[in-house]
């Protein structure tokens, strides 16, 4: 069966060039970057090159990049590290209701341990209001953490304005940019960002690698102790091949970002408009136009469950997502859609397609051909649909 992958916000395939480069550092140049001998030196050199590549993509200096095991660890380091380092100044944190769980649950963990937390609402498109951020700031606020763009509905947040506010009040500003790295130009200096989370496997790099940008001068306590790697911010022998792959992936995506974005916007709109034209009772979740990520389509299809949609699509080889995956593989209604004010049933019927560099127009056509049939079959089984159309 032909398979169509439309779940790039979950993960992406590793670029062949990236994979080939990584292989060298598994089998030939396998030294420990901390070793003094030539094996160590060649690994160290490649590691520092990767650091430069990551820094360049976000407008940082290499010294400001700390490698981690991924986005979740970087978020934890940013939030807990700030809380620990700044707790003498204050104990108030601000975040938004549509953050990734790596941010939300870390903040909630701190809230259970003596910190105070303000969780900002979002509007119907999933966007945080700058005014709400301003109102939430208190003299004891030590951290504002707002994502660059949302992973589920693609809503791009007003990061520049929030960064300006944070700067005026001397509050550490953390941005989770896992979904925007390589998709939207990021310049941490212009955007007044103090801490920025990025991840490798969303940009055609390997899994298990990420980084936290830590602006020079920002105070951050380490989470892992016991070695002196990553300027003591993150002890433990570096995942050298992974990091080198991440660096290469940054370089490659940086070169093709503008062109690829324009291409994906065309596919995105074709898919979104096609669904609206072919299927009744559909609602687009998230903003339209420039406030939306180029690769994100999220729709709620009424009277069907997203879970059944996903399974039916999978049986045809089409990979999409709905809600947020949990450890067991079953789905809960999305906290993002609920925060946007969607009622439970409609949040349950949501479906996300996230495009990537290998998707073609033919693939979109195939989805548009199959999806209406699936929806019709599921609606035939839905007592709610029956009631609604016979009202």
């Amino acid at each position: 069966m032909k398979r169509i992958y439309l779940d790039h916000s979950a993960t992406t395939p590793v670029d062949l060039e990236v994979a080939a480069l990584m292989m060298t550092y598994y089998t030939e140049k396998y030294g420990n970057p901390s070793s003094v001998h030539s094996f160590g030196r060649e690994a160290r050199q490649a590691l520092e090159e990767a650091r430069r590549q990551v820094a360049e993509l976000i407008g940082a200096t290499p010294q400001e990049i700390t490698f981690t095991s991924g986005g979740t660890e970087a978020d934890n380091l940013a939030i807990i590290g700030t809380a620990e380092a700044m707790s003498k100044k204050g104990k108030h944190l601000i975040t938004s209701s549509v953050e990734h769980h790596a941010v939300l649950e870390t903040c909630e963990f701190l809230a259970k341990n003596g910190f105070e937390l303000t969780i900002l609402p979002v509007d119907a498109e999933g966007i945080v209001s700058v005014e709400d951020v301003r109102m939430a700031i208190r003299p004891d606020t030590i951290l504002i953490s707002v994502m660059h763009a949302n992973n589920e509905v693609g809503a791009i947040q007003p990061i520049v304005e929030i960064g300006q506010l944070a700067k005026e009040h001397s509050i550490t500003f953390h941005v989770d940019a896992v979904q925007t790295l390589g998709k939207i130009p990021i310049n941490v200096k212009d955007m007044n960002i103090d801490l920025l989370t990025v991840s490798s496997h969303k940009i055609y790099g390997p899994k298990g690698v990420g980084a936290l940008y830590v602006r020079k001068g920002v105070r951050l306590a380490p989470r892992a102790h016991g070695g002196s790697q990553e300027k003591k911010r993150r002890s433990g022998t570096e995942n050298t091949p992974g990091i080198i792959g991440f660096g290469k992936a940054c370089e490659l995506i940086g070169k093709r970002m503008d062109k690829e974005d324009a291409r994906q916007i065309i596919l995105r709109d074709k898919l979104m408009n096609g669904i609206i034209e072919r299927i009744k009772y559909v609602k687009v979740n998230g903003p339209l136009g420039e406030k939306r990520l180029a690769n994100n389509v999220n729709v709620s299809i009424r009277f069907v469950e997203g879970e059944s949609l996903l399974l039916s699509l999978d049986m045809l080889g089409i990979a999409a997502s709905s809600g947020s995956a949990c450890t067991s593989g079953s789905l809960d209604p999305s906290h993002v859609l609920l925060a946007m004010g969607l009622v439970h049933e409609i949040a349950h019927g949501s479906l996300r397609f996230s495009l990537g560099s290998q998707n073609t127009e033919e693939e979109i056509d195939y989805v548009l051909e199959q999806l209406p049939k699936i929806v019709e079959r599921l609606r035939m089984m839905s007592p709610l649909y029956d009631q609604a159309i016979h009202k």
Partner: protein, 375 residues
């Protein structure tokens, strides 16, 4: 088109040996098999080893599906399960009954919502690892439910509520096999689940401590009250009616100089009624929420074999259509008085190996246990 489309079946896979073999057998028979595991409950605290709701059970199901080479999905049934099974379970105890949550799960979850979802995925049938047999009676054209060959493992009692529509879309692939053979066949196929112990009774209650579970979910509703005798005389204090079940002797917390048994629970007065052994017996019961399988409805008295609990052997009885005419109620008159007829449990009627129908036992509608009425 030259290719023939295989009939699609969704198998509810719990990770245990029975449902794993159900999937394997259907696949061998040529069906297009899809495995589904329902996530129904998330226990707080450490996982119950071998419990059907644990992540390790899900992992087992996933692994078996992988070995068989069939697609496998985990479906989130947590809120639906809580509404239809767990809430009912607690409510029933508070109402002085002894519920059977597996019956509610079969009715609403497995053969209700799971069947509906399976049909939505394009499946003609659902299948489970129950030991039971569905067949069609050529004369009446009704779908019948009868014992599997392994009568010791027979699970028809827990399936009496299946409607004709549900039976028409249900397969029980284990019908032809005894349990020991199923275990052997699972080992022969290298499924890795052949020696797993049989699942425990109530999958969402840890250590079988149902009373603590109900108390935690119903804050303030479990209150101490009085033990009384059949005439209403005060005998002592009890901890709350949820802690007692009809027929119980041990654990009453007080001694009476002679063996005393729970003969009834009265939620209105919060009383536990105690009596002597003879008073635990009754020759009559009433049942509601009836479902008929081999017959369209009960119009006149019928001689049957009745089972009043999961593991009991059947006893001879005659069933009478209820006073209100329709199928809302039946009276069951046993040939011999039966011990500990328990409101909340099911009574299932058989003729030979075939299920006639069944319903939920209620306390005697005349307010007292029927034994007294016959005195």
């Amino acid at each position: 088109m030259t290719l023939t489309t295989k009939t699609k079946v969704v198998v509810g896979m719990s990770g245990g040996v029975d449902s794993s073999m159900a999937a394997a057998l259907l696949q061998e028979e040529g069906y297009d098999v899809i495995g589904i595991t329902l996530q129904v409950w998330e226990a707080t605290g450490p996982e119950v080893e071998g419990g059907c709701c644990s992540n390790s059970a899900i992992d087992d199901a996933r692994r078996v599906a992988f070995i068989l080479g069939i697609p496998h999905y985990v479906m989130n049934f947590r809120s639906y399960f809580e509404e239809t099974v767990v809430d009912y379970f607690a409510r029933s105890y508070l109402a002085g009954e002894t519920p059977n949550p597996c019956l509610a799960c079969n009715k609403y979850v497995k053969f209700g919502e799971m069947l509906r979802k399976a049909r939505g995925l394009g499946a003609e049938y659902i299948a489970t690892g129950h030991y039971a047999h569905v067949l069609r009676d050529p004369a009446s054209e009704r779908f019948l439910l009868s014992n599997s060959v392994d009568t010791r493992k027979d699970q028809t009692y827990a399936l009496y509520m299946l409607t004709q529509e549900q039976l028409a879309h249900t397969l029980f692939p284990l019908a032809k096999y005894p349990k020991e053979q199923i275990r052997q066949m699972a080992n022969d196929r290298g499924l890795g689940v052949g020696n797993k112990p049989d699942s425990q009774e109530i999958c969402f209650v840890i250590d079988d401590d149902y009373a603590s579970f109900v108390r935690k979910r119903s804050s303030g509703l479990v209150k101490p009250g009085n033990f009384v005798d059949l005439k209403g005389n005060y005998l002592g204090r009890h901890q709350g009616i949820i802690y007692y079940t009809v027929g119980q002797r041990k654990g009453l917390g007080i001694t009476f100089g002679k063996p005393m048994f729970v003969v009834g629970l009265n939620p209105e007065s919060n009383e536990v009624v105690l009596g002597e052994n003879s008073e635990v017996f009754t020759d009559t019961l009433w049942a509601i929420d009836l479902n008929w399988i081999s017959i369209p409805s009960l119009k006149e008295p019928l001689k049957v074999t009745a089972k009043i609990r999961y593991n009991s052997s059947g006893v001879q009885a005659t069933i009478y259509p209820g006073g209100k005419g329709a199928d809302h109620e039946v009276m069951v008159l046993f040939d011999e008085p039966q011990r500990a007829v328990t409101p909340g449990q099911a009574v299932v009627f058989y003729q030979g190996n075939t299920v006639v129908g069944g319903g939920t036992i209620i306390s005697d509608p005349r307010g007292r246990r029927s034994l007294l009425v016959h005195e």
